[in-house]
């Protein structure tokens, strides 16, 4: 049944996406580890980590597209789930440092020693095990999303109001994580990681492995999202995006549908954050900033909302642009990003992937209305 579920979501677009991801998963390790450094086909480890970062953002964009593109929930707080997943992974990596910290405390991370804490807070317990941290990467964002969504959807908070309270959520978390006594390293966050599952986090092989893991996570998430969208549940989601009360009067409990997609999306965002942290080497409260969430929205908008692949494309393109601008023309980056927001909303409402359809719709001669039902003349394709 699981197989059927995955097959359901497989269409031509999914095939292209998965093929590209498969090529990346093979080519990047080869080009990094086995192609000699002087060859033009060699990839530096720096580039691999950068690519890995883009793909983490792509996973976040995929998660966001699932709720925005298919349920009409514009989340301005998705970076919060990303950051929570990141913190869960960061806590595991902190615990792995052990006595190698500056203060040499075998249990307490440096910042706790610095704050004169005597023992580990209860919510740090268990994070020395990878399996536990990995579970928390899913559970923490998922549980928060479930609780938040349960209240918000049941009360029928929709549209702009929902967007604004998701923003309030991430803003509240931002303020909370800045506080030193929360026990998450305050302003500085978690950093100075040493190793992951016993492997040196700086080693080339580890970096490449993390990249491949990211590709795998993205591919798996894409298949799950694609399967969900292709199922009848996905059709209900699209239906309620456009006419929620109609769906309700048809007997569907729309709240639980939204809750399902919302929670699933938050878990995916959490995974993205968890893969992001070891590759960039730090997690701090600025990830919760409302601006990060809004930036993620523009990735989806650039690629095309409601297309799944569009989010991935947009995230990679925009972040490549960001890397280029912040390096070469830092003054201009915000102008470029700001201009992108305006241009996409004004001229590319369906994003890059929707560009073809948009152009086609503009072409004259296509009769959109059709004659009254007349079974004899119309085409008889079976369903």
């Amino acid at each position: 049944m699981l197989l059927r579920f995955f097959l359901m979501g497989l269409d031509r677009k999914a095939g292209i996406v998965l093929t590209i991801l498969a090529i990346l998963a093979v080519a990047v390790p080869v080009m990094t580890l086995w192609v000699p450094a002087d060859s033009p086909f060699h990839l530096s480890v720096f580039t691999v980590s950068l690519l890995g970062k883009y793909l983490c953002f792509a996973l976040l964009a995929l998660a966001l597209d699932l709720v925005w593109g298919y349920c009409g929930i514009l989340s301005l707080g998705h970076a919060a789930f990303f950051a929570l997943g990141g913190y869960a992974m960061g806590m595991y990596l902190m615990r792995q440092i052990g006595p190698r910290g500056v203060y040499g405390n075998p249990v307490l991370p440096d910042f706790m020693v610095f704050l004169n804490w005597k023992e580990l807070p209860w919510y740090w317990l268990g994070f020395d095990h990878f399996w536990f941290a990995a579970l928390m990467v899913l559970v923490v964002p998922g549980a928060l999303a479930f609780a938040f969504g349960w209240f918000a959807f049941r009360s029928r908070v929709t549209g702009v109001y929902l967007s604004i309270i998701t923003q309030a959520l991430t803003f509240a978390l931002l303020l909370a994580f800045f506080r030193n006594d929360m026990g998450f390293g305050g302003n500085n966050g978690l950093t100075d990681f040493k190793d992951i599952l016993g492997y040196d986090i700086q080693a080339d092989t580890t970096r490449v492995t993390l990249f491949v893991a990211t590709v795998a996570a993205l591919a798996l998430s894409y298949m799950i999202a694609s399967g969900v969208i292709g199922s009848k549940l996905g059709k209900v989601l699209v239906a309620l995006r456009d006419a929620e009360s109609r769906v309700r009067f048809m007997g569907y409990d729309t709240e639980s549908y939204k809750l399902f997609a919302w929670t699933l999306s938050a878990c995916m965002a959490g995974v993205a954050g968890a893969l992001y942290v070891p590759q960039v080497g730090i997690i701090n409260p600025s990830e919760f900033a409302p601006a990060s969430s809004i930036e993620a929205v523009i990735w989806v908008a650039v690629g095309g909302r409601g297309t799944l692949a569009g989010g991935i494309l947009g995230a990679v393109l925009v972040n490549m642009g960001k890397s280029y601008f912040t390096g070469a023309l830092p003054e201009l980056w915000l102008f470029a990003l700001g201009g992108l927001f305006v241009a996409v909303t004004l001229f590319l409402p369906k994003g890059l992937l929707g560009l073809g359809a948009q152009l086609k719709a503009k072409l004259p001669g296509r009769n959109k209305t059709s004659p009254l039902p007349n079974a004899k003349t119309a085409d008889q394709k079976g369903a």
């Binding site: 209240f151 049941r154 702009v160 604004i164 803003f171 980056w333 102008f335 201009g339």
Partner: protein
Amino acid sequence: MRRALRWLMAVCVVVATSTAALAADLRPLVQALGSGGYSGTEKALAQLSEAGDPAAVPVIEALQAGDLYVRKADGTVVVARKAGDAFTLTDPLTRAALGDAPAAAVEKIRINNSLRRAISASLGALTLMSPDTGVRRSAADAVFKSRDAQALETLNAAIAKEQDKSVRAAMEQARAAILLTGEAASKMSDAEIQSATDTLAARGDRDALVLLNMVAGSGASDVTKRSAAAAVSTLEQKLAFWAALQNLWYGLSLGSVLLLAAIGLAVTFGVMGVINMAHGEMVMIGAYTTFLVQEFFRAHAPGLFDLSILVALPAAFIVSGGVGIIIERSVIRWLYGRPLETLLATWGLSLALQQAVRSIFGPTNREVGAPSWMSGAFELGGLTITYGRLWIVIFAFAVFGALLVALKRTWFGLSIRAVTQNRPMANAMGIRTARVDALTFGLGSGIAGLAGVALSQIDNVSPNLGQGYIIDSFMVVVFGGVGNLWGTLVGALTLGSINKFLEPYAGAVLGKILVLIFIILFIQRRPRGLFALKGRAVEA
């Protein structure tokens, strides 16, 4: 008028000559400070205070500060202040310059602990008799703080002589403080103790509370303790009352800042349904306009600096409003009916505007000054109110009132409401909807500019100024209920007050987090805010 002037001048002359005469009388006593060691100094000091002449105050203060020296050459007592290696000498009474002297040529008049006590007592006593009410009042406060039993006699004498009611009250409080905490307490009658604690309780501030608590917990007699404890509880109630009022004032003050920031948003979001994420940047532009206007005044008319704010108000309204109209014409008008898209586009604009201001003015804070009529503070009962905050509260309400009138009573307001309620119908009736849209957006942005002028007085004028307010503003509008200006008013004041009442218990950051959580939960209860529209209009 002229007679009054002449009379005043005559008084001045009399006062001047009399102080000169007294100064002459004091000279030998001042001279005596420098001889006979500690005891000699103490004796001379006692005589100085008995003379009761305020002219001696600077001398004694110099003695207290260790600036009083004896010139070895002639034994004259001088004030000497170190300037490089040498000392600059002045006459202690007339303050006439007496030239410089090397360190070796002067000898410090040294003081010990008993002298130190005597000095403060005599200073207190002398200043208590000062002809200046301000000096007397602060002297009384000084005695209240020091509770020096030696000042008691002078204090009694001063109370007997005092004409000014409030100064006498301050002196009586000082006296009560000395009586209750000193040895005298054991000899007082119950009635006297009662009256002393009453006097202290009447003072009604935290100092009095600390003192009464001290008395209540001290080894004093039972009567004293009981009486003090009773006074403590009444005083605590009173203080709690004033603290609550002060919090209310802070809440009102924060609320009016929120109101100012949110009110323009209430127009663009509430009336037009446009989510303007660049609203904060309109505020910022208003603040930078204020900065530019002030720069102009500093450069060309420094004397009129106090008026710069008044010029900045229309300037900021026009600049921010103009930017708003440009934004509406170029971007927003293509996005009506798609609120989430306006959100993204205006967010992009806000990024670009921030970067533009950063490129032009630099990333650092710009200095915006306060006019003199906005600085300072005054006390009202137990409240401290700064003029700056008071003006902002007044200004916020003025803007709110003006907007309300503009929307309800003018042709423009009528057009706005017509377009909001039924666009095609308004169009059919000859209202130029496109122009109304542009002007409405301009109005909302212009009000944001006005908010920027006010906020430049209390916040850092930097490219990030607007970012700090945008989320709060949205919370206010959403909490209050979209499309209802009264909702925005109530929302702003409520959130401001909640924030300020939470702050003492939870701290500023946690307080803010709690407010955010409160709003999130509140929206669950009332998804359309405090003043929600009901019925058919909701579905439209």
